[in-house]
């Protein structure tokens, strides 16, 4: 009886943790950081410098599908 109760409680605990992890999992497609435009200084051939503004939209898209899965080395 004790074994049955302990097994049932453990399985419920497992299901609860799985549900919690699935619930708190970051949704794919939602960017985690706000896109911020950047600026770089580009030097031309004649030595003149130009300021180039890079738009942040689309450049910092995150791939959240495997965010919680560590990537194996090698």
């Amino acid at each position: 009886m004790r074994t049955i109760w302990a097994t049932v409680l453990s399985v419920w605990a497992l299901c609860g943790v799985v549900a919690f992890l699935a619930w708190t999992r970051p949704q794919p497609g939602v960017p985690s950081q706000q896109s911020i435009p950047g600026a770089v200084i580009v030097k031309g051939k004649n030595g003149s410098s130009r300021l180039v503004v890079i738009s942040g939209a689309g450049s910092t898209a995150t791939h959240a599908t495997t965010r919680t899965s560590p990537v194996p080395a090698g």
Binding site: R2, T68, S69
Partner: protein, 209 residues
């Protein structure tokens, strides 16, 4: 629903089973320390011993599920050898090896309950000290290899698990052990040579093969 949304089911089960296995191992160790320190009433010792063993076996089952789910995870690419042999894992081999070793120690401890009569009480007790090693290895594995116990969450989790184990261990060390009640033995006849008690061995009973 989970499969339809592309949820990494194996990865979620592996993480959850690892966390539950560590919780069960910690509970089993706390119960063992409660029995060892005799803080509870003696009439509860037998019930606690049963729960102690059951929780340990369940922890082993959850650890097996943890390893089995990792085999099915398409991202980790863990093979059977990586799950069963310490040090063969392609990802963080040392921390994964600590988890595998903790699993083997848990298995040895759980098996020792069933061969307790074959090995002496002293050796069984010495073997039982390996539970601290299993706990430490499992905690280190969870903190360094687990993705859910990074940062503050890991510290809180480790504190909750460590606090009762450390406190009960100190109680066990500092509290002098109660003398065990003497077992009444039948009075030996005067013509029989009294049994000799060799240190570290079971008493040799005269007249038994």
């Amino acid at each position: 629903m989970l499969f339809a949304t592309g949820m990494p089911v194996a990865w979620l089960i592996a993480r959850a089973a690892g966390l539950v296995a560590f919780g069960l191992l910690t509970s089993s160790i706390v119960l063992g320390l409660l029995m060892s320190t005799r803080l509870l009433a003696p009439r509860r010792q037998k019930s606690l011993l049963g729960w102690h063993q059951t929780l340990l076996w369940l922890a082993i089952c959850m650890a097996a599920l943890h390893g089995g789910a990792l085999l099915l995870d398409p991202v980790m690419h863990f093979g059977v050898g990586a799950v069963l042999v310490p040090g063969l894992a392609p990802w963080r081999p040392i921390t994964v090896a600590s988890g595998v070793t903790a699993g083997y120690l848990m298995l040895a401890l759980a098996t020792s309950f069933h061969v307790r009569r074959r090995i002496t009480q002293r050796r069984w007790r010495q073997l039982h000290y390996a539970s601290f090693g299993a706990f430490g290895l499992a905690l280190g594995h969870g903190l360094h290899a687990g993705t859910d116990l990074q940062g503050v969450a890991g510290l809180v989790f480790a504190g909750i698990a460590l606090a009762p184990v450390v406190w009960l261990t100190f109680v066990r060390i500092l509290t002098p052990g109660r003398p065990t009640p003497p077992v009444p033995r039948p009075k030996a006849p005067s013509n029989v040579e009294p049994t000799r008690r060799v240190r570290g061995r079971e008493p040799v009973v005269a007249g038994r093969g």
